[in-house]
């Protein structure tokens, strides 16, 4: 046993001991100066990259090169011009950061003219040093800008032409394309000749594009619509029209409609050749007398079709279109309630069923009328109780009732026979009254909700 413990302890001590490591100083012995400190020659942009041979034994050279070029791109400072896109759109810090990152990425992608200065390696690491002449970089960049502006201007002109003929969709599409053409230079102030004068091209392009949503208008055809609360509106439409500059009907514009009485639900429709949009109504179940439908142009699809560039997409997606609110009048059906309530054949002085139905209908926002002719729904209830048994001074009464709901055309839309409700009391009359109390509970808990559902849900 004791030998075993000793052996065990030895195994522990051996397994817990740590191995010796080479110090960093030893590893970096003989490294050139550019490894230890970043180079500093003002006529050049510099990039030094390193990769671990241990971590990337097969592609450490390529990895080091990429790191060096990334550092080189980072050295090319990004100055955002006052006329750049970013200063015309109202973006938050998150987008500004994103924008800068993308410009850096773009710079990195189109990096040309750089040259390898030197490389160094030890057992663990591989280091490489690149440089790029600043004057050479500027010349290459200007050539790229000129080329991009030429292409962009052609799309810009097309966008203007479509705008003149109120073709919102195509005009917007070409504005997006024009913007995409200069996407790598969005931070720069690009000056070029447009309409015979030299002017800031980016500012002009953005300003004209941002005017577009303000010119797009959604109007309602006809007077304020009036709907009767309840089911049966599934095939009804609210007709809206999309106009450009208040006159020209615009086709193909996608409109998103939301309903105040159906939270979370929305409908998307594109305008037809006449600029019309038919919004299919949701089930109208609301106690309010007025609700509204909100409509707003939605160009997400158009953006997706027009560009694949994420920066341009995010730029254009941030353009807000005005929201149009169209009030709709809700008419609650009028109800007429008539009950015959008897206890042991004698009419009740205080009608329990009538009071219950009236309370429930009023709390659901319905109007109660005193004439059948003025009612949209007529609720008729008949009820009576009968003697049951008597045991030890306790009396039982049984209640039967019939509930019928008819519409204006006297068509029965809901019926509910209620039978065998028992009541208990110190007399048959008291038992009958007790049975009516039970009926009241049943009306509240099951009968009225079922009737309501059949009409409004």
């Amino acid at each position: 046993m004791k030998h075993f413990i000793f052996l065990f302890l030895m195994i522990f001590l051996i397994s817990c001991s740590s191995s010796r490591k080479l110090s960093y100083k030893q590893q970096m012995e003989g490294a050139p100066a550019w490894v230890k400190q970043s180079p500093n020659a003002s006529a050049y942009y510099h990039g030094v990259g390193m990769a671990s041979k241990v971590m990337s034994p097969t592609d450490y050279r390529e990895l080091a090169r990429q790191n060096a070029l990334s550092e080189l791109a980072s050295a090319i400072s990004v100055n955002i011009s006052s006329s750049s896109v970013l200063n015309q759109f109202e973006f938050d810090d998150n987008f500004s950061e994103y924008f800068r990152d993308n410009i850096k990425l773009s710079t990195e992608q189109f990096l040309e003219g750089y040259e390898l200065v030197e490389s160094w390696e030890n057992e663990q690491q591989y280091w490489v040093y690149y440089q790029l002449s600043k004057s050479k970089f500027e010349a290459i960049k200007q050539a790229r800008i000129d080329k991009a502006v030429n292409v962009s201007k052609a799309d810009f002109e097309k966008a203007r032409d479509f705008e003149k003929v109120a073709n919102f969709q195509e005009s917007m599409r070409f504005y997006i394309k024009a913007l995409e053409g200069i996407k790598d230079f969005l931070a720069d102030d690009i000056t070029t000749e447009v309409d015979g004068t030299k002017q800031s091209y980016t500012s002009l392009l953005i300003a004209e594009m941002l005017k577009m949503p303000g010119n797009l208008e959604i109007v309602m055809q006809g007077e304020k619509p009036r709907y009767t609360r309840g089911l049966g509106h599934e095939n009804e439409n609210l007709v809206l029209k999309v106009l450009y500059k208040g006159q020209e009907a615009v086709k193909g514009v996608n409109v998103n409609a939301e309903f105040s009485y159906a939270p979370g639900k929305s409908v998307q429709q594109s305008s037809d050749a006449n600029g019309l949009i038919r919004v299919r109504l949701e089930n109208i179940d609301t106690r309010k007398k007025e609700e509204y439908v909100k409509a707003r142009a939605n160009i997400d699809k158009l953006i997706r079709e027009s560009t694949n560039d994420p920066v341009i997409r995010r730029l254009v997606e941030s353009i807000t279109f005005p929201e149009y609110v169209f009030p709709v009048e809700i008419v609650s059906p009028k109800w007429y309630v008539e009950t015959v309530e008897k206890n042991l054949g004698t009419s009740l002085s205080s009608k329990i069923m009538e009071r219950t139905f009236r309370t429930l209908l009023a709390s659901d926002g319905f109007e109660l009328v005193k004439s059948k002719d003025a009612a949209d729904y007529i609720l008729l209830c008949e009820s009576d109780t009968q003697n049951g048994n008597e045991v030890n001074g306790k009396y039982i009464a049984r209640l039967d009732a019939q509930i019928r709901l008819m519409n204006q055309q006297s068509q029965v839309v809901y019926t509910k026979p209620v039978s065998d409700i028992s009541g208990l009391g110190s007399s048959f009359q008291a038992a009958g009254e007790d049975a009516f109390q039970s009926l009241e509970s049943k009306i509240r808990i099951s009968i009225y909700p079922a009737m309501y559902k059949s009409l409004f849900k």
Binding site: D93, P310, S438, I445
Partner: protein, 542 residues
């Protein structure tokens, strides 16, 4: 040193300590490998675990801070990337995970420097994501998809509990299905199921719709069901229904009274029938049950008294004399009466026949053992005796043994050691005495319980038993511990070393024998107790 470690607990503690120390060392080693491979998240987690085991190790804290910070930067980059891809859900959860990690490390005393940009990404992404989820939740509520809506509003609530009207909608999504299920149960007449659904809601949100009122309505309907069943004398079902209401609310109307009635009325009625038919003992028990349950119920207390009176069972004990041992028979009879009284049977009244009617003793049983039915009837008519417990003895044996004495030869052995360490033994022949005695008593008793009104033998049995005591011991006037027995062989006494232990045992034995009177007491108690138990368990109504 190892040789000195003999305590297993100490060895175990040492091993445990080494195991723990080794585990931390292994964790650190693995964490270093992760760190070298650029897997800072994994490295940080291992350092965190190690730090939990060794909270005072500064180098672990430093390592955790270093790796945790680098990993946090990676998470920031990942969050930024997901935000820029407009994958807002991912952004939100990456932020939450990063924050949870920071808080976790903070609890170990390691703080990570946070990036304010993370809050911005989260704030923006949260607005986008929650807005979208909120709308989905609303749509689902509108479509009455409560389960899915609840899932969404729960998620929103976990991210931002105060987001818009999430609390209300979460309540609606959680409670509305229960509320409606309650409605359905109510409609189906399952009032208590309905009650429980609404009660469940009420327990969590007292203001949700009209649940309180509905609970009352459900109880009211169940109460009515129970009352009607009670009126129709379906007592069991009524007790179930009224019991449901009573459990839910003991103060509901007069449910306590009705529930008591439903439980006890059938018992009460049966007790009345039993009392009427002379099954007084059964009636007594039933009335007792009612009183125990309800304390006061109708005339239970009076009727129970009546039942007890009627169920009383006076028994006269009579035994035939034992030849030459008349006093012993009387002794047995008295012991039996004591045992019967000890049973505390409230119905049983025990009398000695000689006390009631001494003249009858000689003529009640003839020489053939047959009882005179006329005299039995007389006992019933004049003394109210319902049965005679008749005892007949047989094989009575009492034997008091003589004390037997035998003088024996033995040796007293003296062992000494001299100055040189040599042992010397001296055996001296001596005399000692051995004694033996035995007392014994035995009895067989047959009993019969005979009805005084019918002469029927209601119960009978025979019990036999015996008791004896015997003693064997030795006495010696010298040093008892040095006494050895001796054997006589071919005219020579020899010390019997093998018999030493037996003799020592005899020297320590009890010298007092139990007297015959004591043995008789035990025997009589044993036999009378058996008979008393039989009589106590005897139910004349069965």
């Amino acid at each position: 040193m190892i040789k000195r470690i003999s305590n297993p607990l100490l060895i175990f503690s040492l091993l445990l300590f080494l195991l723990s120390a080794c585990a931390v060392k292994k964790m650190v080693k693995q964490a270093e490998q992760f760190e070298a491979a650029g897997m800072f998240g994994e490295a940080a987690e291992l350092y965190y675990e190690a730090l939990q085991k060794k909270p005072d190790k500064a180098e672990l804290k430093i390592a955790l801070k270093r790796n945790g910070q680098v990993y946090y930067e990676e998470q920031v980059a990942e969050t930024r990337s997901s935000y820029n891809r407009q994958e807002y859900k991912e952004t939100v959860y990456l932020y939450i995970q990063a924050n949870q990690r920071i808080e976790k490390y903070q609890r170990q005393g390691v703080s990570i420097k946070t990036d304010p940009a993370m809050d911005r990404y989260f704030s923006d992404a949260k607005n986008y994501y929650l807005d979208q989820r909120y709308n989905s939740g609303l749509k689902l509520l509108g479509d009455e998809e409560f389960g899915e809506a609840k899932r969404i509003f729960t998620e929103i609530s976990e991210i931002d509990a105060n987001y818009k009207d999430t609390r209300n909608y979460l309540n609606q999504a959680s409670f509305e299905p229960l509320y409606r299920q309650g409605n359905q149960h109510f409609q189906d007449g399952r009032y208590m199921d309905a009650y429980r659904q609404w009660e469940n809601i009420f327990a969590q949100d007292k203001s949700y719709k009209d649940t309180r009122t509905r609970m009352e309505q459900a109880l009211s309907e169940r109460y009515k069901e129970g009352s009607l069943l009670l009126m129709h004398e379906s007592f069991n079902d009524a007790a179930t229904a009224l019991g449901d209401v009573y459990q839910a609310n003991p103060n509901f109307k007069d449910v306590k009274v009705l529930y008591t009635e439903a439980r006890n009325e059938p018992v009460y009625r049966q007790a009345m029938v039993d009392l009427d038919k002379g099954r007084c003992r059964t009636a007594y028990f039933d009335f007792s049950r009612i009183i125990e349950d309800a304390v006061v119920y109708k005339k239970s207390k009076t009727l129970r008294e009546q039942a007890l009176k009627c169920a009383e069972y006076p028994v006269a004990v009579y035994s035939r004399p034992i030849n030459h041992y008349t006093a012993d028979a009387l002794q047995f009879e008295n012991t039996l009466i004591g045992s019967l009284v000890d049973q505390q049977n409230i119905f049983l009244k025990v009398f000695n026949l000689s006390t009631i009617n001494s003249r009858m003793e000689s003529s009640l049983v003839n020489s053939a053992g047959k009882m005179d039915s006329r005299l039995l009837q007389l006992l019933y008519d004049e003394n109210g005796i319902k049965a005679v417990l008749y005892l007949d003895y047989d094989n009575y044996e009492k034997k008091s043994g003589e004390l037997q004495k035998e003088s024996k030869t033995g040796y007293e052995r003296v062992v000494t050691k001299n100055d040189l360490g040599e042992t010397k033994i001296y055996d001296r022949q001596v005399k000692y005495n051995e004694y033996s005695q035995e007392n014994r008593i035995a009895l067989s008793v047959a009993y019969k319980l005979v009805s005084t009104t019918t002469g029927e033998i209601l119960l009978s049995n025979t019990y036999s038993d015996s008791r004896k005591d015997q003693i064997s011991y030795a006495t010696y006037g010298g040093n008892k511990d040095q006494l050895y027995p001796a054997t006589f062989n071919r005219g020579v006494w020899n010390i019997d070393e093998q018999g030493y232990r037996r003799l020592q045992s005899l020297l320590r034995e009890e010298t007092q024998i139990k007297s015959l009177a004591q043995l008789q007491k035990y025997l009589f108690e044993e036999l009378t107790n058996k008979i008393a138990v039989d009589i106590n368990q005897f139910n004349p109504e069965r």
